[in-house]
Symmetry: C2
Subunit: 177 residues, 2 copies
């Protein structure tokens, strides 16, 4: 849903090849959006069909031929339209938290183990993002926001696994049927 617009946003800066887009997305946009190279070529083809980008082939004078994509005026309009549109509800999907949601079925020591595993995964991701060179402009801000979210998750996990008892939290309101 958003990939074509992420591509338009990157191309708004300056023209790029598909391969280049894949690299920039991985290095600079990644925590906020990600895409495999195999997704990018079809997306570019579609953007081209819709007239949002144009393609210039750089002949194979030195190197393999390169397809350089450039945003059109229509592409910039579409980018603008998308930016001003209200974002959809957050997707909310977290493999790590999904595991924690079903911790009831494990013994207490194993619960601790899973929580530590989640904490580790989150910490690794934070370190990875903090270690990488920060992008410029609002791409940096957006990445920062993603890190803040991860740090909130880590704080939460630490607080929970630091609790003396990891008994199944009882329902405070009593059970309904």
């Amino acid at each position: 849903m958003s990939l074509p617009h992420v591509i338009l946003g990157l191309l708004a800066d300056h023209p790029r090849t598909g391969y280049d887009l894949a690299r920039v997305i991985e290095e600079e946009v990644e925590p906020v959006w990600k895409a495999e190279i195999s997704q990018i070529y079809p997306a570019l083809a579609r953007l081209r069909r819709e007239g949002h980008v144009v393609l210039r082939v750089l002949g194979p004078r030195r190197g393999p031929h390169r397809n350089l994509y450039r945003v059109t005026a229509a592409g910039r309009r579409e980018l603008r339209r998308w930016l001003l549109e209200a974002p959809p509800r957050p997707r909310g999907r977290d493999d790590g938290l999904a595991r924690i949601a079903f911790l009831d079925t494990l013994e207490v020591p194993e619960r601790r183990q899973v929580l530590r595993g989640y904490e580790t995964t989150v910490s690794e991701e934070i370190a990875r993002l903090r270690g990488a060179p920060p992008p410029d402009g609002f791409r940096r801000e957006a990445r920062e926001a993603a890190v803040e979210k991860l740090e909130a998750a880590r704080r939460w996990a630490r607080a929970l696994s630091g609790r003396p008892s990891l008994a199944s939290p009882a329902s405070s309101g009593g059970k309904k049927k």
Copy 2:
């Protein structure tokens, strides 16, 4: 990737129908994982093929016939295996933040508008989750974690939109690349 395991986790509690699973996922698991009803039936069929659940048909004595699914011992083993497995790196996809990453291309007043839009969307989601009756046990904890993440995003958005200047952030301090 995780949906079959979420289903196993819910069935570990007690047997349920597909429709019931859809309802519980939406009401109790949602911020952490979500699934349309159209995803659940195929997932159940596959779990059945793999011997992780069995199906008992409740004849249409009163009402339409209901397919009640129950976890098998193999299903519980698979659930346990998945719970103890290290979670993958967080997916990191956020439509709202993706917009913010490309704010450079807009005029300053519009940047503020987009930030407010993000803040609103996040706030609405928090309110929705806080308003709904909390689930039991670790499902409640996991939802709480999801809310913490959302609140971190909101704090970040507020801090940014409260800034007097929303000029494109230069590589702060750093002397260019």
